[in-house]
């Protein structure tokens, strides 16, 4: 017995009389529940409890609660924590990069990956009112497995000061030379090839303009939840590698299949660059946290990073606008608490028809869900490197 205080903790309380009710000898009651009072004190307490049902009931309840609490297993620390701690703790000379490398570059790469073939694109769920209503109840036992779902990124919004030190020209120098032609070929009327640097900040900035702080990619959980729940325009999730690069085709496939498995949501049947995956759905604002947590869990289990942007740049938004014209055919992705008593979790439901009721507000059938204010249109991109 090392940590348990029963043998090496506080001294046994002793020699103290009991007078009045429980609250007047609360500290002794703690020892009594712990079993560390001496015999005479225990007798005194038990004598009182026999005459005082109220105190007896309260102490019994405390004992039960403690027994229940103490049964709770200690949770394993998330995988990867050790590596992160030791990497930093043992690092001597090499300083950590202040900003995720590629944080700025990837916006441009992403745009390129999304935009290149820009062909006709149809939502997979264009079937109209058919209800998929895929409810997936993943039952995982309490103690099974470890907690890969624990998202561990400590990265908040990208540092605006740090990114401001990178000039547009420097940033654009990082881009492959194919960037400009790809963007020029995207059909975006607002873009000239020389504007490629503007895509870095998503602001369509010209080269002479100061770079816009790249604070629009959120990775902090609270910021993502808050941002999503309050979004007034479509919200965009991006899956990237942890160092900000584009994922491989295989990784994109895995993200897509996992997302479909967890939610029933299908990847859009788009004709984009090969391997690029995209999803779109209406998410009830109240389910923002559940969806954020799902995506974070998913990205972490695949050793990827997910970020949220409400302003991903004109290329992405205009792409999305053209692709999401038929909002009526988009699915609703909602979450409901799991009813399994042993677990806490969410069941994710995908439906192609608007919910018959959502809270007290009923979305008019003539209005897309997001315009009814109850939902956020969420777009999930997994751009791949080629």
């Amino acid at each position: 017995m090392v940590w348990g205080r029963k043998t090496n903790g506080s001294r046994a309380s002793s020699g103290q009389g009991i007078s009045g009710h429980l609250d007047e000898w609360a500290r002794l009651a703690v020892d009594y529940v712990d079993g560390t009072v001496d015999d005479s004190t225990r007798s005194a307490i038990q004598a009182h409890l026999q005459t005082c049902p109220d105190c007896a009931r309260r102490l019994t309840a405390q004992q039960s609660a403690l027994a229940y609490f103490a049964q709770a297993p200690l949770v394993e620390a998330p995988e990867g924590l050790e590596a992160r701690v030791l990497t930093q703790a043992l690092r001597t000379a090499q300083a950590a990069p202040a900003v995720r490398p590629g944080a700025r570059r990837r916006a441009a790469r992403r745009s390129r990956a999304l935009l290149s073939p820009a062909g006709p694109w149809l939502p997979a769920l264009a079937g109209g009112a058919a209800v998929l209503a895929l409810v997936l109840a993943m039952t995982i036992s309490r103690d099974a497995g470890k907690l890969d779902a624990t998202v561990t990124t400590a990265i908040d919004v990208f540092s605006s000061e740090a990114s401001a030190t990178q000039t547009p020209r420097e940033a654009s120098a990082d881009l492959p030379s194919t960037t400009s032609p790809a963007l020029a070929g995207s059909g975006s009327a607002t873009l000239a090839p020389t504007d490629s640097a503007g895509t870095l900040t998503g602001a369509n900035a010209s080269l002479s303009a100061p770079p816009q702080p790249t604070g629009t990619y959120l990775q902090d959980r609270a910021a993502m939840v808050s941002g999503l729940s309050q979004a007034s325009a479509p919200a965009y999730f991006f899956f990237d590698t942890k160092d900000g690069g584009l994922v491989t085709t295989e990784q994109a496939e895995t993200v897509a299949s996992e997302l479909t498995a967890a939610t029933g949501l299908r990847a859009m049947d788009q004709q984009l660059s090969s391997g690029v995956k995209a999803f779109a759905a209406f998410v009830p604002r109240g389910d923002s946290a559940a969806v954020v947590d799902l995506l974070r869990s998913l990205s972490d289990s695949l050793q990827l990073a997910v970020s949220l942007s409400l302003q991903p740049g004109e290329e992405v938004t205009s792409w999305a606008a053209s692709m999401l014209q038929d909002k009526y055919s988009l699915a609703e992705l909602s979450a409901s608490p799991s009813h399994s008593p042993a677990t806490t979790g969410w069941l994710y439901t995908t439906s192609t028809s608007p919910p018959t009721t959502y809270g007290t507000a009923r979305a008019p059938k003539t209005m897309p869900l997001d315009e009814a204010g109850t939902h956020v249109l969420v777009v999930i991109f997994v751009a791949v490197r080629n």
């Binding site: 609360a26 609660a65 103490a70 109840a137 993943m138």
Partner: protein
Amino acid sequence: LNLTEQVCDEDSELVERARSGDDDAVTELYRRHERRVYNLALRTLGNPWDAADVAQEAFIKAFKNLGSFKGEARFGTWLHRIAVNAAYDHLRRHKPEPMDAEVMAGLSGPAGPAAVVATGRHGIDPAMDGLSEPLRAALMQLDEGFRFAVVLCDLLGFPYVEAADILGVQEGTIKSRIFRAREALATSLVAAGYESRGASAQTARNQDDGSAVPRTGLIGKE
């Protein structure tokens, strides 16, 4: 043989080696305390993301400041004090904005963000938390002082005197907090429909199974 002293001696020895640049000693120290520090953060902050951040911060801070650890306290006490401070700081810094709190409340009931856990496959474990809903809800509703005390003592098994040292309060204060915390947990459980079984708490409580310090295998049953 007093195992407590042995464990602390081993910590002390590891600290000495770590100070002299022995990376293996740092790794070993980490592994001996990882789970407890993480669970401290998890149970006081309420969600695994913040907990991982805070645990990471605490360990890194501790390892970078090993030079200032004078050995006047046990390493574990000192480390957990750092972790407690990191958790408090996190709570200060991340006071949920009203909107955020509103969203959370609407989402997940009294448990707040702690209850929000994704469901999925491949190790995405909805039971990541390991604590039943009413208990976790009750825990997160406790005032911070009570929550830290009850987590340290009743969940992690710290002796009251050591918890008092970690939290910087008197032992009597710890006991008062423990009493109120247990009462609140009990009330919540009863309200959630759990029967008060009158079970013997002291037998159910089992902190000496070695689970507190994983991987080392140094702490076994007596």
